[in-house]
């Protein structure tokens, strides 16, 4: 069996400290807009002075679905996907670590790191996910 390991497909998108995971958005000092993920320049005014802005560790589910179809990313179905709104006016799509029947629009989720799929070499893909706020594990 070949050795598989762990891959972070979007390592620049989050910051982890003392078990708290925060997403990193870009904030433009010229026009004030915020974007996730942070890019090298502002997609609105093209300023290259973009600052990193750590988002609140907890967001609110704007909408969600339980996917029963294969995604092509090696995710076993069913899995839960949600658009999560952060107080900084940023919306991020993420998988939720929760029982499908427990998800509600408006529920709060904490950002965590977890497996989001498997790549073509069989490596686990680890990235940001949401977990119902207040829960330590699943």
């Amino acid at each position: 069996m070949s050795q598989t390991s762990v891959v972070f497909p979007n390592p620049a998108c989050f910051h982890e400290e003392n078990g708290t995971v925060r997403l990193i958005a870009g904030e433009c000092p010229s026009c004030g807009r915020r974007f996730f993920p942070k890019e090298d320049w502002c997609p609105n005014c093209l300023s290259t002075e973009l600052k990193a802005r750590l988002l609140s560790p907890v967001g609110t589910v704007y909408t969600y679905t339980v996917v029963h179809q294969k995604s092509g990313m090696g995710i076993p179905s069913p899995y839960v996907l949600a658009f999560v709104d952060f107080p900084e006016d940023v919306r991020v799509l993420m998988q939720l670590e929760t029982n499908p029947q427990d998800v509600r629009i408006g529920m709060e989720v904490s950002v965590v790191l977890g497996k989001i799929g498997v790549d073509d070499q069989g490596n686990d893909l680890i990235s940001y996910k949401g977990r119902p706020a207040g829960r330590r594990d699943v």
Binding site: C13, F35, Y62, T63, T65, V67, S71, R91, L93, I105
Partner: protein
């Protein structure tokens, strides 16, 4: 700008034809359009060919054996709006006086390359995190349900209507009526969307001959005029936005109505991008057929049935006629031409004056969609 007419329209049967080539499928539509126009192929000055996933020089592959090699061939790709994007390029060239008579083709063959949900671009961060197209529409549906009291059986009603219309259209991929119960009981794809609330993948082609109005009389006594031809791309707005009201369609519709000098109340019928049953309902509102949150009432009252106030997806739509990406936008136009000429057979609506066709294309994070095209046609 010159006025522009459609003087010929034809399409291939939609379905799964893995034993045919992409070129052959396209040729069937070109044959049909040329024959319908009664035009000498040597009058065609250029060809605009929309395709999303067939690879390179699709137009040349289709036209090589049609005696049309040598003319300018413009291949367009804009995901599900590829065909309608080709039509807009043709419209511009004829309106501007660069060409008098051109051919527009939309063609796609998916049966040989995909099964199930279409794979999306893996460099997209949302695709990376598990997004597939049915899931995106499912999340729009969930939010719409939350805000406006939409229920699953309303979504099923859209599929029932589309399947019923498709049984009256010999070109449709699906030829069978379904009940609300069957739609709701079909396999769950992405909650609340079941299999029968999702369009199938498939193969097909459609073609039209586009011509300057002043020359149209030579080919047909029933020209159909292109009153508006609009293409917009999605705005990059990754932040908080209302996912129940697709801004790209709202924006394109506003431009189209202004260009045509018509409003939604002037339309006799519409073909909208019902890739999933929720989208048809959201587009009733985005295209101005009803107010915000009133789509449920429209489908419940039968306002968009063949006999309703504004029949929508008279040919079965993407849900039942099928959705060979690049072909879809042109097939919507073919259906509208047939309806406006009174040639739509058992699904003919009464005395239509004007019709709208609408396609959105492509999933990309931060954008509502990659592209949106709207055409308004009239007698």
């Amino acid at each position: 700008m010159r006025e522009v007419a459609i003087v010929g329209a034809g399409m291939s049967k939609f379905g799964k034809f893995p034993d045919k080539t992409l070129a052959r499928i396209g040729q069937e539509a070109v044959w049909a359009a040329l024959k319908d126009a009664g035009i000498d192929k040597n009058r065609i000055e250029a060809a605009y060919v929309g395709n999303a996933r067939g690879g390179r020089i699709v137009g040349q592959r289709v036209l090589r054996l049609m005696g049309l090699a040598g003319i300018p061939v413009i291949n367009t790709e804009n995901a599900c709006s590829s065909g309608a994007t080709a039509l807009r390029e043709a419209f511009i060239a004829v309106a501007a006086g660069i060409h008098d008579v051109v051919l527009v083709v939309g063609v796609e063959q998916l049966s040989t390359i995909v099964r199930g949900a279409l794979p999306l671009d893996r460099e997209d961060i949302e695709v990376n995190h598990g997004l597939i197209m049915p899931a995106l529409y499912a999340m729009r549906a969930k939010r719409y349900m939350h805000e406006y009291g939409l229920q699953s059986h309303h979504l099923a009603k859209v599929s029932v209507k589309s399947h019923r219309n498709a049984t009256l259209n010999p070109y449709s991929q699906y030829q069978k009526e379904v009940t609300e119960e069957e739609v709701l009981a079909s396999r769950m794809i992405a909650d609340p969307l079941t299999l029968l609330m999702c369009c199938p993948t498939g193969d097909g082609a459609a073609a039209v001959i586009v011509c300057a109005r002043e020359k149209a009389g030579r080919f047909t006594h029933k020209p159909v005029y292109i009153k508006a031809s609009v293409l917009v791309s999605g705005k990059y707005e990754p932040g908080i936005r209302d996912m129940t009201y697709p801004e790209i369609t709202v924006r394109a519709a506003r431009q189209a109505y202004e260009m045509a000098g018509l409003g939604p109340e002037d339309l006799s019928l519409a073909q909208v991008h019902d890739a999933f049953s929720i989208s048809e309902l959201m587009y009733y509102e985005a295209l101005g057929f009803c107010g915000r949150g009133e789509a449920v009432k429209m489908i419940e009252e039968g306002a968009t049935e063949l006999t309703g106030r504004i029949p929508v997806n008279t040919d079965g739509g993407l849900l039942s006629k099928g959705h060979p990406l690049g072909a879809t936008g042109i097939s919507q136009v073919v259906e509208t031409v047939w309806q406006l000429r009174g040639q739509a057979g058992p699904r003919q609506i009464q005395n239509p004056k004007a019709g709208l066709t609408h396609c959105t294309g492509g999933g990309l994070s931060g954008l509502d969609h990659g592209a949106c095209t709207i055409h308004i046609l009239s007698r």
